[in-house]
Amino acid sequence: MIYLGFGIIAGAVLALPSVALSLLCRNCKFFNLAYGDQMGLTAYLVLFFNVSLGLNFPASVVLSLIISAILGVIFYWIIFKPLRRHGPLVLLIASLGLAFVIHNSELAIWGPNPQKYNIPFETGLRLGPFIMTPIQLVLIGLSFALTGGIFAMLRYTGIGRAMRATADNLELATIRGVDTERVFIWTWIICSATAGLGGVFLALITTLTPWTGFITLLFLFSALILGGVGNLVGALVGAMIIGLVSECAAILSVLAPYKIAVAFAIMFICLLFRPSGILGKERGF
């Protein structure tokens, strides 16, 4: 039962970034390998404001998210926009390069040791069979609320509609007068900020090392592919399944060090039998 509780937390924390990553993949038509390290970088920025500068926690989170969003747009302008004409595979290689630049910057500035935020220690609350700390409850709530926010944004706002149109057919959207450049910039802003928040959540429930982002990226991609790439509901469902199963697998002590392997095994089976994902369309993204 404890594992189930861990699984719910892990699933909830993975849900938000995986939905945002799915949105990014769908709009920009490539897998962004730097996403995990963007998460890690923002978590480190929070660490910088919170621990090094001594700001209080919410203020440092807000500041870091703004920086994360700005960085996302900068990455888009200087790397991904000029390379778009070379196709998705070259973008993937460029994002790998970016991921390593960010990862090694973290390593150079903050060193390889695990870091912790300066927040008060909390005791667990007993909720039925689960034990969770108040902060974990807040995380679960916030994660689902913001995921709902992304869905609402896509459905009810002008930029959300433009995003869906662009993702569906870039040329058609351009011809119909959608400002696709604006769509791309907003996609990067929203997804980078969400990535940052996901990174902070992750740093709160685990420890923060320069490898956190990369490891999380693997979970995110297995969630994404399991749910069907480009399908946001699928990404949400996939994240919950991956979170639950990979944490519950720890019941078998043999599998305890292999959470990623469990997540990847699920993805592998999914690719063998239903490559488009459990909720994906045949067409892919």
Binding site: F30, F31, L33, I79, P82, L83, R85, H86, G87, P88, L89, V90, L92, I93, A94, L96, G97, L98, A99, F100, V101, N104, S105, L107, A108, G111, P112, F214, I215, L218, F221, S222, I225, P257, Y258, I260, A261, F264, M267, F268, L271, L272, P275, G284
Partner: protein, 323 residues
């Protein structure tokens, strides 16, 4: 000093084999492989386990039982088998799909293999790593001596030359032509009646074999391997070598390997390290390589030694402009 220089040349040669393998996968066939470190690991560990003698030591209460003390050619051949088989297994679900999926699966596979190497202590001795891996002809020349280093250098260079010739012959053969056709347009190639998945699988397995042999050579060179030597950073470095050197061109692959692994990575070892910050210099070095990779992709996407493009009609097609 001489043995130090020989050591650097040997390491660079081994990494050049990896870049050559990556060139075969990405440069010839357009297979996006981010699992170089994983194939490298499986080759190195297979050879290490077979060549090293069984040790009686207990680590964290787990007895290390593997280690067979076989001779080095058997280790080399076994790593060909395991890395080739691994490539085959990974290829089954992914090669039918879009290239991106292969990238994701291989990047995760490499990381999972590293976890296996860390956790299965009975086989790999965990983070302690396997030590005392025998070099070729160790009974004649002790491991740390100059002749032993030279033998390994000659062995590595021979294998590199052999693989280079095979890869170059492959490039101009009808087989290589089909691979390049797949890279340019998979759909058209399959319409021409070529079994695309079959060709991709062969290339993927061949690339895996190259990487496995490189791993076995690496294990023999360093004589002690540990999981930390197979972090994803090496995958990224190999990609930087290939892109900077020029993908699709074997000479470019070798040039990139020599430039980045030789000058950038090994050459900067002579820089004085900053006290108290052992991570700083390597991290800055990789930041520089990452920026170089992105700059080359933007300004000279076909690398320093670009692949020769056969001109068709008036327009020269960009080799990697896909979909």
């Amino acid at each position: 000093m001489l043995s130090f220089i020989i050591g650097i040349i040997t390491v660079v040669t081994i990494f050049c084999i990896l870049v050559l393998a990556l060139n075969m996968r990405w440069g010839y066939c357009g297979l996006l492989d981010f699992g170089v470190a994983g194939f490298f690991l499986i080759g190195a560990y297979t050879a290490a386990i077979l060549i090293s003698a069984p040790s009686e030591s207990y680590l964290f209460g787990v007895r290390h039982t593997a280690g067979y003390g076989l001779s080095w050619p058997i280790g080399l051949i076994a790593s060909v088998v395991t890395s080739g088989f691994l490539a085959f297994l990974i290829g089954i679900p992914t090669l039918r799909l879009r290239g991106d999926y292969l990238a994701i699966v291989t990047i995760g596979m490499a990381e999972i293999l590293r976890y296996v190497a860390i956790n299965e202590k009975w086989m790999t001795r965990g983070v302690q790593g396997i030590r005392d891996i025998k070099r070729p002809f160790e009974s004649f020349f002790p491991a740390a001596s100059l002749p032993s280093d030279i033998i390994l250098l000659v062995l590595s260079l021979t294998i590199l030359a052999l693989f280079f010739i095979i890869a170059s012959r492959l490039y101009i053969s009808p087989f290589g032509r089909v691979l390049r056709a797949i890279r340019e347009d998979e759909l058209v190639t399959s319409f021409l009646g070529k079994p695309v998945s079959h060709f991709k699988m062969l290339t993927f397995v061949l690339g895996g074999i190259y990487m496995g042999v490189a791993g076995a050579l690496f294990a023999m060179y360093v004589t002690a391997i540990e999981p930390y030597q197979f972090i994803p950073t090496y995958t990224f470095l190999m990609w930087a070598c290939l892109i900077v050197g020029g993908s699709g061109n074997n000479w470019g692959a070798i040039l990139g390997g020599a430039l980045i692994m030789g000058l950038f990575v090994q050459g900067t070892r002579f820089l004085p390290s900053i006290s108290g910050q052992p991570q700083l210099i390597p991290a800055l070095r990789y930041i520089a390589v990452g920026i170089l990779l992105i700059v080359v992709l933007r300004l000279r996407p076909r690398g320093l030694l670009p692949e020769k493009v056969i001109e068709i009609g008036e327009e020269t097609r960009d080799v990697h402009a896909k979909s």
